[in-house]
Amino acid sequence: MRKILARPEAIPIFLFIATFVLAAAKNRYFLDFGYLLETTSLFAEGALLVIAMSFIIVAGQIDLSVGAMMALVACAFGKLLQLGLPMPLAILAALGLGAVLGSINGALVAYLKLPSFLVTLGTMALFRGAAQAMLASQSVALPPNFVGIDRQVLAFIHLPIPLFIVLIFALLGGLALHFTHFGKRLFAIGTNEAAARYAGIRVARAKVGIFVISGVLAAVAGMMIDSRLAVARYDHGKGLELEVITATVLGGVSIAGGKGSLGGALIAYALIAVVRTALGLANANAEIQLTVLGTLLILAVGVNRVLESRTGARRITA
């Protein structure tokens, strides 16, 4: 029992159940399984970014540009299709663009040794600025055959396609982060970067790697949001980084790096989805939700920090 409670997922699961029960008590929509499944499509893009953010924060970095990368890829993808590029090529180009954007972040952080929060704050403006410069305030309509991913379900099991995509990436991400040497090295870098370098780990390469992962997942998310909303706009996913980072740290990934689990982060994101859905059903506007998210972010990190310092003290005295 104690071992189960010590897992990093324990607290997020507990919080998720509590929130869910509370929400269900207020609103019976939460007992409608079909409705819940449909709702997951709204949060699929965010979930993909949570997967990426877990890699980044575990390695002691942060990526504030995820929402902006997603928007830039979404716009570029829409534009490419509008220009008549065949679908498979456009998808490849979008993924490639995501990788390039991520590697810009990665190179600035890893090779120029600039703090990631500043680099990605800058590229957040740069990437969204590029999206805005490209499309201005117009929106590009997507071809009809690409629209409506959120309404598609997988045959037989009726799983919405976006949720299915998230599950696939979660599985891959979970395996990579928790069961491979690559993941282990990221935890090492997050725990003590200098010691990781002394142990012969190619720290710069790993850092570029996680930012590229982030860019590619943002690209997938960008195409998904295009399909779901049927248009590409520069303000897609604006402020999405906030709920993504909040979920990741609420899920037990230590903001200082070196600790956490992908499962915990995704469960915490489900919790945030429940909160946002409940607030939405209660007609709370987007700005109230912003306040709630901001508070959650500070609380998640603050409580974690207080707990860490207390267990740390206990370990020393024991």
Binding site: L108, L112, L118, A125, L126, A133, I255, L290, R305
Partner: protein, 315 residues
């Protein structure tokens, strides 16, 4: 000389100004100059506060929302009490900004939560709270006594049609105070000692926690002053747009002015020049007929560009 970031920024200001003037003569007409001089004050005050934060290796991305929230609250106060003394209104804005700074400072300095997390959270919280207090209302010039807006339009000095407004005068005074604070006070020097070597400063008995706390309070206070300046200048407050995205402009001004993002270095003069540069860029873009849609891209490029160029070799 060229190694001084202040001098480099100055050269950039001149270069942008000259190029823009060559392309469009409207750049040196009074309308453009006046709009430049109106654009600078808010940015100077906010960037100066940000400089102290960055000098301690921190960041404050909540300043835009702090301006929005403080402006909204103050605007509502003026709307409900039309005859209110302007100084009381100003004091309200400053107090609200300072309060936000106190919250940020406590979380960063005492709880040791990374500044980007604290201020990212505060940024959303206070943007949301602007709506909570404002609801669907917005403050327009009809709600404000004309004396408020006059502060931005009139001033002590005139060169032909160019006016140095009270607002600009005030911002320069604040910059001067910040300069004195950074060079000639124990607190200011402690800020730079901490940025240069946090652990060393602690061992030498510098009150690190209190000083870092103070830096965020100062930054919040500057945001509060800017909130009042925002009302003066625009005569209009909308809970969604007031101060929205301003943190990027402010951070861009601070880093292009040579503030070392790894701490320990920064100058008020540099930040002042950084703000002027962004102002000139902004006016130049509009004079050259480049769409407002390019603005964000330019800020992003400026931030990344100065991060790359100003990074110090030693740390």
């Amino acid at each position: 000389m060229l190694r001084k970031p202040e001098f480099r920024t100055f050269l950039l200001v001149v270069a942008v100004f000259v190029i823009a003037t060559l392309r469009a003569h409207r750049m040196i007409e009074p309308t453009a100059i006046n709009s430049l001089l109106l654009w600078i004050p808010l940015l100077v005050v906010m960037s100066v506060g940000q400089m102290f934060v960055i000098a301690t290796r921190g960041i404050d991305v909540s300043v835009g929302s702090a301006v929005g929230f403080a402006a909204m609250c103050t605007g509502l106060l003026i709307k409900s009490h039309p005859g209110i003394n302007l100084w009381i209104a100003t004091a309200t804005a400053v107090c609200i900004g300072t309060g936000i700074g106190v919250i940020n400072g406590s979380l960063v300095a005492a709880l040791k939560i990374p500044p980007i997390i604290v201020t990212l959270g505060a940024m959303s919280i206070f943007r949301g709270l602007s709506f909570v207090v404002g609801g669907s209302t917005q403050i327009t010039s009809n709600d404000l006594p004309s004396s408020i807006v006059r502060v931005a339009q009139e001033g002590p000095i005139h060169f032909g049609d160019v006016t140095v407004s009270w607002l600009l005068t005030l911002s320069m005074l604040i910059a001067l105070v910040a300069f004195l604070l950074s060079k000639y006070t124990v607190w200011g020097r402690n800020v730079f000692a901490i940025g240069s070597n946090p652990e060393g400063a602690h061992l030498r008995g510098v009150p690190v926690v209190q000083t870092v706390f103070g830096v965020y309070v100062l930054c919040g206070m500057c945001a509060g002053i800017s909130a009042m300046m925002y009302i003066n200048r625009y005569g209009f407050v909308n809970p969604a747009s007031a101060g929205q995205g301003m943190e990027l402009t402010v951070i861009a001004a601070a880093v292009i002015g040579g503030t070392d993002v790894r701490g320990g270095r920064g100058s008020v003069l540099g930040v002042l020049l950084g703000a002027v540069l962004l102002g000139v860029l902004n006016v130049a873009l509009s004079v050259l007929g480049i769409d407002a849609d390019w603005q964000l891209l330019v800020y992003g490029a400026v931030i990344i560009g100065s991060l790359v160029l100003n990074r110090s070799e030693r740390k």
